[in-house]
């Protein structure tokens, strides 16, 4: 079953055609990677999924819901979470608080005026958040301020914040950008582990190592359009991909 269906999406910035008739279908439970050279329109496409950009034409359907024109928080409440290229976390708050916020957002909706409840008495939120922190291996650091974490740990925390919401679809924008090899491998392991939960993932990635170790299906984007789609092994050998993405060099 398709969880995300993109059809005929066009987006231009002034004279620059960033996306040109993009069609894409993401199957439920799959890890779908979107790769492509710089400027191919990967981030533009992702921004069309989360309400940051509105395509000029075309549709983006998430299940039966159209995501076009919806505000970011509505899209999240519909079940789409997003990991950013640079981790977006609540850096002045503790790790536990960071995870509690999305947990509450999922339970209480986009706004709840709980001004007299004590947060430290809310066992449900606390336990769920602590479980999540344990899952990503940050439980001992729960009282640290998030700003003091390493890049890799910030990524873990951001993933925890997305996963605790049990999203139907998780969007990952270059999840290992700027990471050391060790951090990258840790992140891959973590992403593989959360694959067991059956969360559909769309990954935008530069790092081929990451793509080939994670993805079930790959779409190659070049000059704003999907030039090729298939299993990682098929993509590897496709001459069009090597031409567009690698400038003809062999992988």
């Amino acid at each position: 079953m398709e969880i995300l269906k993109v059809s005929g999406v066009n987006k231009a910035f002034g004279g620059l055609k960033a996306l040109h008739d993009v069609n894409l279908a993401v199957e439920e439970g799959m890890v779908h990677a979107i790769i492509g050279p710089n400027g191919a329109g990967k981030s533009t496409l992702l921004n069309c999924f989360v309400g940051r950009l509105i395509p000029d034409t075309g549709t983006v359907m998430f299940g039966d819901t159209s995501l076009i024109g919806l505000k970011a928080h509505k899209i999240n409440q519909a079940g789409v979470s997003r990991v950013f290229q640079t981790p977006e976390i609540f850096s002045d708050l503790t790790l536990l608080e960071n995870v509690m916020i999305p947990t509450m957002a999922r339970r209480d909706g986009e706004f709840a005026l709980h001004a007299f409840k004590r947060l430290d008495r809310d066992a449900e939120i606390h336990d769920k958040s602590m479980h999540m922190l344990e899952d990503v291996g940050l439980a001992e650091k729960k009282d640290m301020i998030a700003a003091s974490l390493s890049r890799g740990d910030k990524r873990r925390l951001e993933l925890a914040m997305c996963l605790v919401q049990d999203p139907k679809l998780l969007l990952l924008d270059e999840p290992t950008a700027g990471m050391s090899r060790a951090d990258t491998n840790n992140t891959i392991d973590l992403l593989k582990r959360i694959g067991d939960r059956g969360i559909t993932k769309v990954v935008i990635e530069h790092d081929m190592h990451v793509v080939f170790s994670l993805a079930d299906k790959v779409s190659v984007l070049a000059q704003g359009t999907v030039i090729c789609e298939g299993k990682p092994q098929e993509i590897k050998g496709d001459p069009r991909v090597q031409e567009a993405y690698l400038g003809g060099a062999h992988l």
């Binding site: 970011a72 928080h73 976390i89 609540f90 708050l93 916020i101 999305p102 001004a115 947060l119 914040m161």
Partner: protein, 378 residues
């Protein structure tokens, strides 16, 4: 590292705070602040700053127009006196409601922008309110003379219409002046402080801090920051309105100058001086500013000559002429210098200073403990 919170600790904290507030007339007497008028000001402006801090300290939205709500609260309170009688309780309730509605309108428009644009919008609204109160709305506000309760006013529920002397707010016969006025303000402050403490510890409070830290992540977490900031704005406007009502309860006169931008700036100073985002900081800041205002503005050349009298004349004269710039009318200079020093050396305000001192003590006691623990091992 953050300190752990627990309901027990918060109760202890609150009880200690309550005792400290209620015994103020005793322990503030030695530094010359133990008289009711000044103590009332501590309470009222402490309340004002506590409310302001709920917006600025938690969400980071810097309102430069909070004096408007103080003024609205004052006018509402005086009108309640005029129409219903001199009981302070309905006056306070009416003031909270009207300032809340007022804050809802101003906040709804102003919160469309953030950062400096938000500050400018709130400032513009406050100056508009000031000008409305000063001239346009004279029938309601009595313009520059100020609104006061007159003997001819209906005061529907006042049984004792025949009292002589000036009209003073009274709670079932207790006149709200002097220490009675202080204790009334103190109890209101304690209730408001308790509510603020609960908000700090609540899910709502943590959402407000999330607004301050990262609105982008908040949006992508399925939360809508706008109603959170608006709720914080309205609550803090209600606090300001209540403070305005207390000003009129202790002295039933409301003037437009209460809404001036200088008054809005003052509450910003109080909050930053004490420590924005902390519970006690704004109250310390308010007390410090009001204390200095009273002490330094009361100084004149005469008192300076007495203080520096021990110096030889040729030194005394220049010293007095320089320091006289900083006292009396010029006490704002002292305030300015103090503010600069705090912002530069203690960006977290007085509260940061206290916690640094606390840590210093903890470290020295921690050292002796570890030494004690190491001894048996030897």
């Amino acid at each position: 590292m953050t300190s752990k919170t627990s309901p027990m600790r918060d109760w202890i904290f609150f009880v200690v705070f309550a005792i400290a507030v209620l015994t103020m007339p005793i322990w503030l007497a030695p530094i010359g602040a133990g008289y009711p008028d000044l103590l009332q000001k501590f309470m009222i402006y402490g309340l004002f700053a506590t409310g302001f801090n709920l917006l600025f300290g938690l969400t980071g939205y810097l309102s430069f127009g909070h004096a408007a709500f103080l003024g609205v609260g004052s006018y509402s309170a005086v009108w309640t006196f005029k129409l219903l009688g001199m009981n302070p309780v309905p006056a306070a309730i009416v003031a909270v409601i009207t300032s809340g509605i007022f804050a809802l309108l101003i906040g709804y428009v102003s919160l469309r922008r953030s950062g400096i644009y938000f500050s400018i919008l709130t400032l513009a609204f406050a100056q508009m309110s000031y000008n409305l109160a000063y001239s346009v709305l004279t029938p309601i506000t009595n313009g520059e003379t100020g609104l006061r309760v007159l003997r001819t006013d209906p005061r529907l529920f006042d049984s004792s219409n025949a009292v002589d002397g000036p009209l003073i707010a009274n709670l079932f016969g207790i006149e709200m002046t002097g220490y009675a006025g202080f204790y009334f303000c103190a109890i209101v402050l304690l209730i408001a402080f308790f509510i603020a403490q609960r908000i700090f510890r609540s899910p709502f409070g943590i959402m407000l801090r999330a607004v301050k830290t990262n609105q982008n992540r908040m949006n992508y977490t399925g939360l809508n920051p706008r109603p959170y900031t608006l709720a914080a704005f309205v609550i803090s406007g209600m606090y300001a309105g209540l403070a305005g009502a207390l000003l009129c309860i202790t002295d039933p006169l409301a003037g437009a100058e209460r809404m001036q931008w200088t008054a809005s700036g003052e509450v910003v100073l109080m909050t930053i001086l004490g420590g924005a985002g902390t519970l006690l900081g704004p109250i310390f800041g308010a007390a410090l500013i009001k204390y200095f205002e009273n002490i330094f503005s009361a100084f004149n050349d005469q008192t300076l000559h007495e203080i520096f009298g021990f110096l030889p004349d040729f030194i005394e004269v220049p010293v007095v002429s320089v320091t006289s710039l900083f006292v009396g009318e010029g006490w704002h200079l002292t305030l300015g210098v103090l503010f600069m020093l705090i912002v530069i050396f203690l960006p977290g305000g007085l509260m940061e200073g206290f916690s640094r001192i606390g840590r210093l003590f903890k470290r020295s006691s921690g050292k002796s403990e570890s030494r004690g623990a190491a001894a048996p091992a030897d």
